[in-house]
């Protein structure tokens, strides 16, 4: 089992199903990439780089989006 | 940030004044009543214009009452005392109204630091802890190093040291500030460019624009007190008051850590000065109107009165908004020690009619008016590390 921490939650992926890129992770989670900002191990990843950003086990990912607020 | 010279130009406050004279003459008594009914203490050019207008002259008593009340609220029943220490009357300038101008012939005097300290001892013995170092434009001798050295020594006996001297550069003001001088007074003399050019034909002071930016440098250097003023009588006092107020308003907006004060040096008719050359001399009534109008627009400004004015007038003015006065002043270098006879010409004024009362007597007068004389307002020792 290989893990990633996503928004504070440990996510486990069985062998062969670990997302290779950030883009793939978002697809697995069914999160629309167009409205999301991502941080990988504390670094902000531009949306255009989602497909090109490779993931490794144990990394910490924050997915953030705009929501209503005052 | 729009510079003050642009502000004055755009508002027509640096010229000969036809526009404003015309506007002022149109002010009605209804406009004055409306201006007086508005909450007092904050500035707008429109309201000040109404208060200095000819129409407002009939409302002087009301303005005086309001100015007094506002001053009491902000400053309490207190008034600060200070003494001037004249360091030199050598001068590089040629100001037409001033007896110290470089073409005047009289025995000039400048003090060494030791002599200045001896004067300061006498001043301190009278009770003063607030001293104003005054000098004409004697750059060679009364330079920044001299002033800094003198200030450093004076800090031991005075809790507030200010300077009223020729214009310095921003770095020089910073040097003075580091030496313990916390206030600088510098009068524009007149905001009218034509008048300024006429009265200051030569010397470093002849540059209007340069002079106008000095308070910016003073405030930027960290000076806590910035003193402004015009020499009343050089030009139309109503216009000068408007320009002076715009200058103060500009400084307050951009240098919020500095406190602004207004002084009211007034050209007086004198027996051997041809007063016909001064077309704009102020009456006492005009002075009261100017003073109360400024107070009603600047609730927190200092209003400073020197011993140039006669005693009876000062007795009345202290209750109308004045926050700081000098007493027992000697206006020639060495005057306190009587080392030299008094050359009685300062700034073109004769000292026949002025307040010569000793400080103790002035203090008694203040107390009789229900005002507490404050000799010492702040102890700079608090600001020094390790003082406590």
């Amino acid at each position: 089992m290989e893990n990633l921490k996503v928004n504070g939650i440990e996510k486990e992926f069985s062998a062969g199903r670990f997302p290779a890129t950030l883009d793939e992770l978002l697809k697995i989670l069914a999160v629309d990439a167009a409205t999301v900002v991502a941080e990988l191990d504390g670094q902000i990843i531009e949306r255009k780089d989602f497909a090109g950003t490779k993931l490794q086990k144990g990394q910490n990912i924050e997915l953030v989006r705009f929501v209503p607020g005052g | 940030m729009t510079p003050i010279k642009t502000i004055l130009a755009e508002k027509n406050l640096d010229g000969s004044g036809e526009f404003w004279r015309s506007e002022l003459s149109k002010i009605t008594k209804e406009a004055v009543e409306k201006a007086l009914a508005a909450p007092q203490g904050t500035y707008s050019l429109g309201r000040l214009m109404t208060l200095v207008s000819p129409a407002a002259e009939d409302y002087l008593e009301q303005m005086a009452q309001m100015a007094r009340r506002l001053t009491l609220q902000r400053f309490g029943r207190t008034i600060r005392l200070y003494a001037p220490l004249y360091l030199s009357n050598y001068c590089a300038n040629d100001c037409l109204y001033c007896g110290f101008n470089r073409t005047s012939v009289f025995e000039r005097k400048r003090l060494t630091i030791e002599q200045a300290l001896a004067e300061a001892d006498i001043i301190a013995a009278e009770g003063f802890r607030d001293i104003l170092l005054v000098s004409s434009e004697d750059r060679d001798f009364i330079n920044v190093d001299y002033l800094a050295a003198l200030a450093a020594k004076l800090r031991q006996k005075f809790s507030f040291i200010a300077a009223e001297i020729y214009q310095l550069s921003p770095d020089e003001y910073a040097q003075l500030f580091n030496a313990g001088i916390e206030g600088v007074t510098l009068y524009q003399e007149t905001y009218s460019r034509p008048a300024y050019q006429y009265y200051h034909p030569a010397g470093p002071k002849s540059d209007y624009d340069n002079r106008l930016t000095a308070p910016d440098s003073i405030a930027a250097a960290g000076m806590r007190e910035v003193g402004l003023g015009v020499l009343l009588g050089l030009s139309d006092w109503r216009l000068e008051t408007l320009a002076l107020a715009e200058h103060a308003h500009y400084l307050i907006k951009h240098y919020w850590r500095s406190h602004i004060s207004f002084s009211f040096p007034r050209l007086r008719p004198a027996h051997d000065v041809d007063s016909s050359q001064f077309k704009h001399l102020l009456s006492d009534k005009n002075l009261v109107q100017m003073l109360t109008a400024l107070r009603l627009c600047f609730a927190d400004a200092g209003l400073v009165l020197s011993t140039r004015e006669r005693a009876e007038l000062r007795n009345h003015l202290v209750g109308l908004g004045i926050t700081k006065i000098s007493a027992g002043s000697k206006t020639s270098p060495g005057g306190y020690s009587h080392e030299h006879p008094e050359p009685i010409v300062v700034q073109g004024e004769q000292f026949e009619v002025n307040d010569t009362r000793p400080p103790a007597e002035v203090a008694t007068m203040l107390k009789s008016q229900g005002l507490e004389p404050v000799w010492k307002d702040w102890d700079s020792a608090f600001a020094e590390t390790g003082a406590l």
């Binding site: 953030v64 705009f66 | 409306k34 009534k285």
Partner: protein, 257 residues
């Protein structure tokens, strides 16, 4: 109504609206439209990955509004700076409403962390609009640091109490050289009008519109109130009469000048 200028950008509307607390995205979108606001605030939150989520902001036409992200949720400067950078990465816009509220009970802004964060973000090229308590000195310090506005509160967020801080707001308005946007606590259109009458450059309203029975109508009411207040301010209202009460005359001495 004269234009509002923030960081060199011109706006016709002096009403800013928040997007939070609405019953649904559709209601929110209609209310925003009715308000004629040009700047709307949004927040940043973690995507809820456990549930299929709908993008509640999809209902906003982003070409019509300037989305102003706030850093709500941040409890210190570091968190706020991080949120600001995330927001910028999302939209490419470098405007941020700095909101640092460590106290969850009143949601009052932390002055020290706000100043710290403002300085960092301004150095990093952000246009910073700081939400603060009505503290005139803090406002001056933020302006000195280079913020594009100051946004003092009228009363705590969501309290609908109006201008409890009026006296301090008047001082801030008198002293500020940047636009003053009164933000938080405006519960009624009359509060917004009052803020504009005393000279505020704009107001920001959220709760009062979102939680009204009819948010669209309330949005219109606020829009009109802001316009009325600004027009009144520009028209120079006559003052309440205050007569001085003379005791003994102070200028009698002038008669014998």
């Amino acid at each position: 109504m004269d234009e509002l200028i923030i960081a060199g950008r011109k706006f016709k509307s002096r009403l800013l609206v928040g997007t939070g607390k609405f019953a649904s995205p559709q209601v929110m979108a209609k209310a925003l439209e009715a308000s004629a606001a040009e700047i709307v605030t949004v927040a940043l939150r973690r995507v809820d990955i456990e549930n299929k989520n709908d993008d509640t902001l999809a209902a906003i036409d982003r070409t019509k509004y300037l989305l102003l992200p706030n850093t709500s949720g941040a409890r210190d400067a570091q968190e706020a700076v991080r949120l600001a950078k995330l927001a910028r990465a999302a939209t490419g816009i470098n405007w941020v409403k700095l909101e640092i509220t460590p106290d969850p009970n009143y949601l009052l802004p932390d002055p020290i962390e706000t100043l710290k964060a403002a300085e960092i973000l301004i150095k990093d090229g952000f246009v910073v609009l700081p939400y603060i308590n009505a503290d005139p000195i803090l406002a001056r310090k933020l302006e000195d640091a280079g913020t594009a506005t100051v946004m003092p509160l009228g009363s705590p967020i969501g309290s609908n109490q109006g201008l409890k801080t009026r006296a301090a707001l008047e001082i801030i308005i008198e002293q500020a050289n940047v636009p003053v946007v009164v933000d938080a606590g405006l519960g009624l259109p009359s509060h917004a009008a009052e803020a504009m009458e005393i000279g505020a450059d704009a107001v920001l309203v959220n709760t009062a519109v979102a939680t009204a029975d009819d948010p669209c109508q309330m949005a219109i009411a606020f829009k009109l109130a802001v316009e009325a207040g600004r027009l009144a301010y520009n028209a120079g209202a006559g003052a309440v009469s205050k007569k001085a009460s003379a005791s003994s005359p102070l200028t009698g001495f002038l008669r014998d000048k």
